[in-house]
């Protein structure tokens, strides 16, 4: 198990390098120049060049990349050009907001999604199943930012149950978590339902019935347990989606966080911040898949066997 963990970590190194290169390239290929945002419109080309030299923007791209990556590996993500602070500080300040939002959205997707999917599978073709499936269809087709606006209109503006925006108190998390999490609920519920119905047709389930095991026990202890294997895979891939969703949703709810930071910086062409934030997101996605693999190995002895 430990050798598996180390092997998977080592495999992340080439992925990390490729992703960092990609992030660097994308950011620098986007038209626009951060220097333009720093200087007055009537600044002379000499003033601009001096500023560019100050931030290392006059060097060839490959050199800029090497310097950035080298520093990033030591934890130094450079200084923000517009915000004039170390990027690492900005990220450290915003990350907890994004993490609590992401973790809660993931938890919400998991718990509600699995429960809904399991109920739909157990009471297949009943009204429970049909209602769940309809909600799932809605949940997976409605875009997050639009859903967010609707939720704000209903629960914040009309009913006044939750704050419209910000992150000053815990109840400000409810609507953003719902907005990001509902799509996940739909996905998890759908995967759980199908996986349970597929497992229920297997020979060993018939054997369990032949052993006289009560049906609810078969569903929960055996069928659901099998259905959770694909759900874990989906969830580990979903981490990236949730973080991506957080970008727009943080913006809609005017919450601090990595997403808001990213969008603001992107509009100002603040390269170091954009690069740093994207790199953090990429690392989070990589760690998410790693976590998924580990959970899967813990749950399925056949996976453990394959690793050996």
């Amino acid at each position: 198990m430990i050798s598996f963990f180390i092997k998977r970590l080592l495999l992340l190194i080439p992925v990390f390098l490729a992703v960092s290169l990609l992030i660097f390239m994308i950011v620098h290929l986007v038209p626009g120049d951060p220097i333009d945002n720093l200087v007055q419109n009537n600044s002379s080309p000499e003033q601009k060049a001096a500023l560019a030299a100050k931030y290392g923007l006059d060097k060839p791209l490959y050199q800029q990349y090497a310097i950035w990556l080298g520093n990033a590996l030591t934890g130094d993500l450079g200084d923000a050009i517009i915000l004039r602070r170390p990027v690492a500080d900005l990220i450290a300040q915003n990350l907890p907001h994004s993490l609590s939002l992401g973790a809660l959205a993931l938890l919400f997707s998991t718990v509600v999604g699995i429960t809904a999917g399991a109920l739909a599978a157990i009471y297949k073709d009943s009204w429970t199943d049909r209602l769940t499936m309809t909600l799932i269809l809605l949940g997976s087709t409605v875009p997050g930012f639009w859903l967010g606006l609707l939720l704000i209109m209903l629960f914040a503006v009309q009913l006044g149950w939750f704050p419209v925006s910000g992150a000053r108190s815990w109840d400000a998390l409810v609507l953003p978590v719902l907005t990001i999490g509902l799509g996940g609920v739909a996905l998890v519920a759908r995967v759980t339902r199908v996986a349970m119905m597929e497992t229920a047709r297997k020979d060993f389930v018939m054997m369990l019935h032949a052993k006289g095991v009560p049906p609810w026990r078969i569903e929960l202890r055996h069928v659901l347990r099998h259905a959770l294997l694909p759900v874990v895979t989906i969830l580990s891939l979903r981490i990236g989606w949730i973080l991506g969703g957080a970008v727009t949703v943080e913006f809609v709810f005017a919450r601090p966080g990595l997403g808001s930071l990213l969008i603001t910086s992107l509009n100002q062409r603040d390269y170091p911040v954009v690069q740093g934030a994207l790199l953090m997101l990429a690392v989070a996605v990589m760690l998410g898949t790693l976590l998924g693999d580990i959970v899967q190995a813990a749950m399925d002895p056949r996976v453990r066997e394959r690793i050996k």
Binding site: D203, H209, A210, P214, L229, M299, P301, R302
Partner: protein, 316 residues
């Protein structure tokens, strides 16, 4: 009184009627062979006896199944569940897929005695280890901890037999227990199973298409053909003096040592399809003795000089 008495059961799955008037009984301590080609309704009969027919979308439309004097048809599911695994146990056809792949072998055997005998986890484990050893599996402790994918097919089938014995049932239904296994271990598994069943005085309903297995293990035989009973008799009588032409053909199909090369032939024709059973005796298109009567009228299962057979011309 017979331990299990199946009287004239007919089964419907949708518009199809795969079983018609199947009748047989099993006494305590008796091994009954249920023989027939694929599609003859053997496994379906097992499902009826286990009370699992609704799980595959079938219903019993006629007849009665009495176990230990109690009618099983119409019994509430919760009552059936108390019989399943406790008094009637199943040994399934495919050991490779019949164990839960992500649960340890031991836990799957323990489950039965914990559920039906109310044993504690420790006593259940001791009992399972004892059973594993009785099935001549080396290192019971290691096997108890193992997962199904770490075991061979033969080992898995022994585990399934252990599972079937775990709650001391009165009747075991074994549905082609060796079909999925290598020929080399088939005989071994049958031998161990029969030995354990005889030692404990249990009744066994052994479903097979292999007349060799029947000869090796059974006291009595029921021959099924296209969803109906063709013949039923004691093991000696059926081999010495088969009453139904289908039984005769089945016996003729057993390969024998010193047989002329090329002389082993199958039964001509094919098993009729369930959607298109022939009128009259369902064996008539393949029977060398078929007369006009056979095509018009289905023969009833009647007492012959010994046993029962469903053939108009069994005595000629």
């Amino acid at each position: 009184m017979a331990l299990l008495s199946v009287q004239g059961i007919s089964v419907a799955i949708g518009a199809l009627c795969p079983l018609e008037g199947v009748t047989f009984d099993i006494d305590k301590g008796e091994i009954l062979g249920l023989v027939g080609e694929s599609g003859s309704g053997k496994s379906l009969t097992a499902m009826c006896v286990m009370g699992l027919l609704p799980r595959i979308g079938g219903t019993i439309t006629k007849g009665s199944i009495a176990f230990d004097g109690r009618e099983l048809i119409g019994l509430p599911e919760i009552e059936l569940r108390r019989l399943r695994g406790k008094r009637i146990a199943l040994i399934s056809q495919n050991p490779m897929t019949s164990l839960d792949p992500i649960i340890r072998i031991g836990a799957q055997i323990d489950q039965v005695s914990i559920l039906h005998l109310g044993l504690s986890a420790t006593t259940a484990k001791a009992r399972s280890l004892d059973l594993i050893a009785q099935l001549r599996i080396p290192e019971p402790e290691a096997i108890h901890r193992a997962y199904p994918h770490q075991l061979s097919g033969g080992m898995k089938q022994r585990i399934i037999i252990a599972m079937a014995l775990a709650a001391d049932p009165d009747l075991i239904v074994a549905d082609e227990p060796t079909t999925a296994l290598d020929v080399t271990i088939q005989a071994q598994i049958i031998q161990i199973m029969v030995e354990l069943v005889r030692d404990r005085g249990l009744a066994l309903m052994l479903i097979t298409h292999d007349m060799g297995v029947v000869a090796q293990a059974c006291d009595r035989v029921v021959v099924l053909y296209a969803g109906r009973v063709a013949e039923m008799n004691g093991i000696g009588e059926i081999f010495a003096e088969p009453k139904h032409p289908y039984t005769r053909e089945l016996i003729r199909c057993i390969p024998r040592l010193g047989q002329e090369p090329g002389s082993l032939k199958g039964i001509p024709g094919v098993v009729p399809s369930i959607v298109d059973y022939p009128d009259g005796c369902r064996f008539n298109p393949r029977c060398s003795n078929a007369q006009a009567l056979c095509r018009d009228e289905a023969p009833a299962l009647e007492p012959k000089s010994s046993g029962l057979a469903a053939c108009h011309f069994s005595e000629v």
